[in-house]
């Protein structure tokens, strides 16, 4: 039995729930990004010199943003509820399943939500701005980025013991990332100190990479690939350590 097989076994329950609640899942994943597109693309962008150029600029940003919004809160809340209220997270730890498969299995729901939502947004984006390039690498990036943010959600769900703490974490980490990490405007225009903090955050690099893949005038930064890879490795290792040592 390989890790992939075990991953599916862990993910089965979450996928069954997702399948039975697909409309709810899609609405909760898509309403936010579509509102950003409407409000920023057409509202704010409408007052700019070249509104079409701004819409084209923010489409990759909003798709990057969706890899965060479709994953973090779902995964973190699900883990928190399964740990503290349903106690079903303990059941996983009792099964003859490897820890890596438990972690990967818990990411599947987030990755699936992000893939579905981002694909819909890609189609909407392409209809609004046919100049954007759609390639298979975009899907690779969506999978990697949604895994990274799902890992962040898993970690937050394992670390917190109250829903209020999770809300606070969202308010001080996730919401600032949403707006400041180059999704809706160029973060290099921010003051130096803030720019450095923004540079260290993972969504900045997902936005940069998405823009590099979708817009020919932008390049793909090697630093962004390395930073995303480091985030994935570090977050995975922390989750592994916490589960192995019963710290969750």
């Amino acid at each position: 039995m390989g890790i992939l097989d075990e991953t599916f076994r862990v993910a089965w329950g979450d996928l069954v729930y997702m399948k039975g609640n697909m409309i709810e899942v899609l609405l909760s994943s898509l309403v936010g990004p579509l509102l950003y597109l409407l409000a920023f693309g057409f509202g704010v962008g409408g007052n700019m010199e070249d509104p079409a150029a701004y819409v084209k600029y923010i489409i990759p940003g909003i798709i990057a943003l969706t890899t965060l919004s479709a994953t973090f809160s779902t995964v973190s809340m699900k883990i928190l509820v399964q740990r503290l209220f349903y106690m079903s997270f303990d059941e996983l730890l009792l099964c003859p399943i490897h820890i890596s498969a438990i972690i990967l299995g818990k990411l599947v729901q987030g990755v699936a939500r992000a893939l579905i939502s981002c694909t819909i947004l890609l189609v909407v984006g392409w209809l609004l701005s046919p100049q954007v390039v759609i390639s298979p690498w975009i899907f690779v990036l969506i999978i990697v980025a949604s895994m990274m943010f799902s890992l962040l959600g898993l970690l937050a769900g394992m670390l917190t013991n109250k829903t209020q703490t999770l809300t606070l974490f969202s308010s001080i980490v996730i919401i600032p990332m949403t707006f400041l990490c180059g999704t809706l405007f160029d973060s290099s225009t921010l003051p130096d100190g803030i720019s450095f903090i923004i540079y260290c955050l993972p969504l900045t690099h997902v936005s940069n990479l998405m823009r590099g893949l979708m817009l020919p005038e932008y390049s793909i930064g090697l630093d962004s690939i390395v930073i995303v890879a480091i985030y994935v490795a570090v977050l995975f290792s922390i989750c592994y350590y916490m589960i192995k040592n019963n710290k969750c």
């Binding site: 059941e91 003859p96 019963n246």
Partner: protein, 284 residues
């Protein structure tokens, strides 16, 4: 009879607090073994440690010959557990929960539906299979949780306070289930703070208090250990007092010395043993 669980000198600490303090015991294949103790005695910590969820500081535990520290994946294959808090996914139906447990425990895919339906049928859960867990009553939730725990036919089923908080009817329903599972060959290790539950179900009992096992044996052995016959009376200050005797003759002899005081001569119960060994004799 072979031992399926062997616990030796187990110590579990949480910071400065020692929850389990050097306990040793065996669970024999085919029996119902009860861990009886008041709230906070260390029962849940012990069961969580045996099931590999909780780390321990020293000692050793083996399940079916597999050391749980070095061979935890093999040990887990032999274990089923229904925790004190019902650990099912309450957003899913009973059937979906059973299937998920079957999938997680690596029952071959072609057999999953058959095993789920058969198990549910034998244990009389058919009518509730398509109910969401969140909509079930406490007793049926607990029953579904126990059936999930045995879906992979574990060698030993660990039940942590299986009837805590349930009404009498649900409690009897679960006692019947426990007996049925045991009759079908599953070894059962249960924790409880209900003395009558241990007395009704268990072949052997260990009484745990403040993290230590204070006594263990069959119910009869435990009764004999303090005296088979109890004289139940009231002391001068109005408190209930129990005195224990090996036979009825010595108990009657003692009763005659009580003069006008009211007394009751009866068979010693597990409750008497519990109160005697946990030091709550006078406070009862």
């Amino acid at each position: 009879m072979d031992n399926i669980v062997e616990v030796r000198d187990l110590v579990v600490r949480f910071g400065d607090f020692t929850a389990v303090n050097g306990i040793s015991f065996d669970v024999r294949e085919g029996e119902i073994f009860g861990f009886l103790g008041p709230n906070g005695a260390g029962k849940t910590t012990s069961i969580r440690t045996i099931t590999t969820i909780q780390k321990y500081d020293s000692g050793s535990i083996s399940i079916g010959g597999h050391n749980i520290r070095t061979d935890y994946l093999e040990a887990r294959k032999l274990i089923g557990i229904a925790q004190q808090n019902i650990s099912l996914d309450k957003d899913l139906t009973v059937r979906q929960n059973l299937k998920h447990h079957a999938i997680l425990h690596k029952i071959p895919r072609k057999d999953i539906d058959r095993v789920v339906e058969e198990t549910a049928h034998i244990l009389e859960l058919d009518d509730y299979m398509d109910h969401k867990v969140m909509n079930l009553s406490g007793g049926w939730k607990r029953k579904a949780s126990i059936i999930c725990a045995i879906i992979h036919q574990p060698k030993i089923l660990l039940l942590d306070e299986p009837t805590a908080g349930l009404d009498t009817r649900s409690r009897y329903m679960l006692w019947d289930l426990v007996r049925m599972l045991n009759a079908r060959g599953t070894t059962i290790f249960l924790t409880t703070h209900y003395i009558e539950e241990a007395e009704a179900l268990c072949n052997r009992v260990a009484i745990i208090d403040h993290g230590k096992i204070v006594t263990k044996g069959t119910v009869d052995e435990l009764r004999d250990s303090i005296g088979r016959i109890t004289v139940d009376t009231t002391s001068d200050d109005g408190k209930r007092r129990m005195e224990y005797f090996p036979d009825i003759a010595t108990a009657k002899e003692f009763a005659h010395t009580l003069g006008d005081r009211l007394y009751n001569i009866r068979r010693t119960t597990l409750e008497d043993v519990f109160l005697e060994v946990t030091g709550d004799k006078e406070g009862a």
